[in-house]
C-alpha cells in the first residue's frame, strides 16, 4: 500500500528557512540523510511534485525529486548527505540539481553515470568584451544574424571546423590543449577553465566507436533544447571587487554567454556504460532502488572505464565550447571590423554542471578523497582553494548561472560555507518548472515573441516551433534560485546580466 502525501511529508523536516531534511526510512536502505535547499516559492513546486506522484497511483508518471534524492542516499559508500539544490527537478536516477559524494577509499563506494547525466560536461562559458550596450545597439540585428550564421545550431547541424577521425581521438585526450595547438583558442582561455580545459584521466580508447561516430559531425555545434549563445549586458553589480577582478567594471558592459555540452558523444558514453554497469551490479551484488541508478564500484574495471570515458567526453565538451568561442569571436570581428583581441574578448570562466570529479574534502574533520557527482550543479570553490585560477584566488571561483530565454543570468562566487555544506557546490540555472508538453499547450507562440520584442531582445532560433518549451514561464525563476543559494550561504551574488540577443537550437 503506497503512503499518502501526508504520510510522505512526515519524513521531511524543515531545518532552517531554506534548508530541509529527508530522514532515513523515506525510501528503503538509506545510508545517509537527504538535504534540499528551497525558498517558499520553490518549496511549493517541490511539494506539488510529490503530491502529484502520490495521487498518480504509479502508472506512467515519473519519480519526484525528493524521492530521487532519497534513492541516491541509498547508494553504497555515499558520505555526508545526498543534496538537492534550489533548481532541482526530476531527472533519471539522480534529479537534475543533485550532488552526491562517495568515499574513494571505501571499496564498496560507487560511481554512477546517472549522477553525471547524459550530457557529460554540459556547462556555461562567459566571454567579456570592452564594448558597451550603445556600441552594440545600432548593429544588434546584424550581430545576432552573424552569430547565427557562424555558430552551427539545431538538430542535424554540422560543425564548422574540419575534423578527421584522428583529430577526434586527440580532442578526447587533450581537451583544450588541442584547440590551443590548432589555433582555435587563446593561451589565456584555458587558465580560466575548470580543470584547465583538460581532464588528464581521459582515455579515448574507453569511448566506443559508436560514440565517436556520433561525436565527429557534431563537434563545434551548439545543439538544441536548452542550449544557447546569448549576448548580454551587465545589469547590476553586487560585488564590485569580484566583478572588477573578472574584468567587469561597469553596468552596460557587453558579455557573451555560451551554454552547451558534449552532444551525442557524451550521451553515447553514458548509454554504453549503463549496459556495462548492469552486468557489474549483478556480479558485485549491488542493489539500487531505481534501475536508472545503475552504478559500479569506483575501483572496478567498469567504474574505471566509465570515469576514463566520461573524462574524454568532458574534454570533448571543452573543445566544443572552445570551437564555438572561436565562432563568436569571428562573428564579432566581422560585425565590428575590429580584432577580438582589441575587443578584449577574454574567457571570464568556464564551468561544468554535469560531471563527476575526484576531489579532496573535509569529512568529519579529516581530509578524504571523494568522487563528487554534480548533476545540474556547479562547482563553487571558495577563495584560496588550490584548484581555482591564480587570478581568482582572492575572490573565489566564479560560478556562471544561465537563466532561461529572455530572463537574466548571474555570476556568483564560491564560499567557505559551500565547501562545508555542499562539497563546494551551488546551483546551475533556472531548472524547469513546467513540462514541455504543458508549455506547448498553455503558452502561445505569439506571446513569447511579443514578450521578447518588448524586452528588445533579438532572437534567432533553428527550431522556431519549440520556442514555447523554452519560454521563461516554463522555468523556475532564476532569481529565486540564486537568492536561495545566496541566503543559504553556499554562493555569493557578484553580477547580474540581462540578454539582448539570443541564438538557440
Amino acid at each position: 500500500m503506497p503512503r499518502t502525501f501526508e504520510e510522505e511529508c512526515g519524513f521531511i523536516n524543515r531545518l532552517t528557512e531554506t534548508k530541509f531534511q529527508i530522514v532515513k526510512g523515506f525510501v528503503p536502505n538509506m545510508n545517509v540523510e537527504g538535504r534540499f535547499y528551497v525558498n517558499s516559492r520553490l518549496e511549493q513546486l517541490m511539494f506539488d511534485e510529490l503530491k502529484f506522484s502520490c495521487d498518480g497511483q504509479g502508472i506512467g508518471g515519473f519519480l519526484p525529486a525528493v524521492r530521487q534524492i532519497a534513492n541516491v542516499a541509498s547508494l553504497p559508500g555515499i558520505v555526508g548527505h545526498s543534496i538537492g539544490l534550489p533548481d532541482i527537478h526530476s531527472g533519471y536516477g539522480f534529479s537534475i540539481g543533485n550532488i552526491a559524494a562517495f568515499d574513494v577509499g571505501n571499496p564498496e563506494a560507487v560511481i554512477s553515470p546517472g549522477g553525471v547525466g547524459f550530457d557529460i560536461n554540459c556547462g556555461v562559458r562567459l566571454l567579456r568584451t570592452n564594448l558597451f550596450e550603445e556600441d552594440v545597439k545600432p548593429v544588434k540585428e546584424q550581430l545576432t544574424q552573424s552569430l547565427f550564421d557562424h555558430i552551427p545550431v539545431g538538430v542535424g547541424s554540422r560543425g564548422a571546423i574540419p575534423m578527421l577521425a584522428s583529430d577526434l581521438v586527440e580532442c578526447l585526450e587533450m581537451g583544450m590543449d588541442w584547440t590551443l595547438r590548432e589555433g582555435y583558442s587563446w593561451a589565456e582561455d584555458k587558465e580560466h577553465c575548470e580543470e584547465y580545459g583538460r581532464m588528464l584521466q581521459a582515455d579515448a580508447s574507453k569511448v566506443s566507436m559508436r560514440a565517436k561516430k556520433r561525436g565527429l559531425p557534431q563537434l563545434g555545434t551548439l545543439g538544441a533544447g536548452n542550449h544557447y549563445a546569448e549576448v548580454q549586458v551587465v545589469d547590476e553589480i553586487y560585488d564590485k571587487h569580484a566583478a572588477s577582478t573578472m574584468g567587469i567594471d561597469q553596468e552596460g558592459q557587453v558579455v557573451v554567454m555560451l551554454h552547451c555540452g558534449s552532444r551525442g558523444l557524451g550521451h553515447q558514453v553514458a548509454t554504453d556504460s549503463l549496459v556495462e554497469m548492469e552486468k557489474a551490479m549483478a556480479r558485485d551484488g549491488i542493489f539500487v532502488n531505481d534501475k536508472q541508478l545503475a552504478c559500479a564500484r569506483i575501483n572496478s574495471t567498469e567504474g574505471k572505464n566509465y570515469f576514463a570515458g566520461m573524462a574524454a567526453a568532458a574534454n570533448f565538451a571543452w573543445v566544443n565550447r572552445s570551437c564555438i568561442t572561436f565562432c563568436v569571436r569571428n562573428a564579432f570581428q566581422k560585425t565590428f571590423g575590429m580584432s577580438a583581441d582589441d575587443m578584449d574578448m577574454q574567457v571570464i570562466y568556464d564551468v561544468s554542471h554535469n560531471v563527476a570529479k575526484m576531489e579532496e574534502h573535509m569529512v568529519d574533520g579529516r581530509p578524504r578523497k571523494l568522487c563528487v557527482h554534480r548533476k545540474g550543479a556547479t562547482r563553487a570553490f571558495p577563495a584560496h582553494h588550490p584548484l581555482i585560477p591564480v587570478d581568482y584566488q582572492l575572490i573565489g571561483q566564479p560560478v556562471l548561472i544561465g537563466g532561461s530565454m529572455g530572463t537574466c543570468s548571474y555570476v556568483l562566487t564560491g564560499t567557505e560555507q559551500g565547501m562545508v555544506e555542499t562539497f563546494g557546490t551551488t546551483c546551475h540555472g533556472a531548472g524547469r518548472a513546467l513540462s514541455r508538453a504543458k508549455s506547448r499547450r498553455t503558452i502561445t507562440w505569439d506571446s513569447v515573441i511579443d514578450d521578447l520584442k518588448k524586452k528588445e531582445i533579438s532572437i534567432r532560433i533553428a527550431s522556431p516551433k519549440l520556442i514555447m518549451e523554452e519560454a521563461p514561464e516554463s522555468y523556475k525563476n532564476v532569481t529565486d534560485v540564486v537568492d536561495t543559494c545566496h541566503s543559504a550561504g553556499i554562493s555569493n551574488k557578484a553580477v547580474k546580466l540581462r540578454p539582448i540577443a539570443v541564438i538557440k537550437g
Binding site: 526530476s90 537534475i96 538538430v155 559531425p217 553515447q268 531505481d290 524547469r432 508538453a437 527550431s463
Partner: protein, 155 residues
Amino acid sequence: MPSTSMIEDRGEIERRRFEYLDHPADIQLHSWGTTIERAFEACLVSMFGYMTDLEKVEEQYEFYWKVSGDSMDGLLFQFLDEALNSFHAEPCFVAKRVEIMRFDKEKLEIDFRGWGESFDTSKHETEADIKSPTYSNMQIIEKSDRCDVYVIVDI
C-alpha cells in the same frame, strides 16, 4: 495540419496509437497496441515524431536493425537506442513507419525495419533533439488484448 508532436485530435491519436505525456524536463512517450509488437512499433514512431514532423518525411528507403537485450526493459531501450543512433550518426535516418519482423521473447531479440529517409535540414523541420531513451519509470504493461508502453526520453 499541426506537426506530429502537436496533434491533439483524439481520433488521430487513437489511430496512430501514441501520445506525449508530461514530464518536468523531458517527454514521456506512451504507445499502445493489441500486441507488444504493435506497441513497440508505435513507440519508435512516436520518438521520431517528436524530433520532426513525420508528414514531411517520405518513404524513400528501408533500414534494417537487429537488437538484443537481457531483460524486456533492456530490449526496449536497445530497440529505441539503435534506431536513434542511425539518426544521430550517418545516414541520419528518420523512420515514418516501423515494422517488427521477428520478436523472440525467449532470447530477447528483435529484428525490425523502418521506412523513411535521411534527415535534411532544408526539407525537414528541426524540433526536439532526443538524445537517448531512459530506464526512468519505463513500463511495459502487457495484458491479453492490449499492451501499453511508457518511456521517458532525454531531450
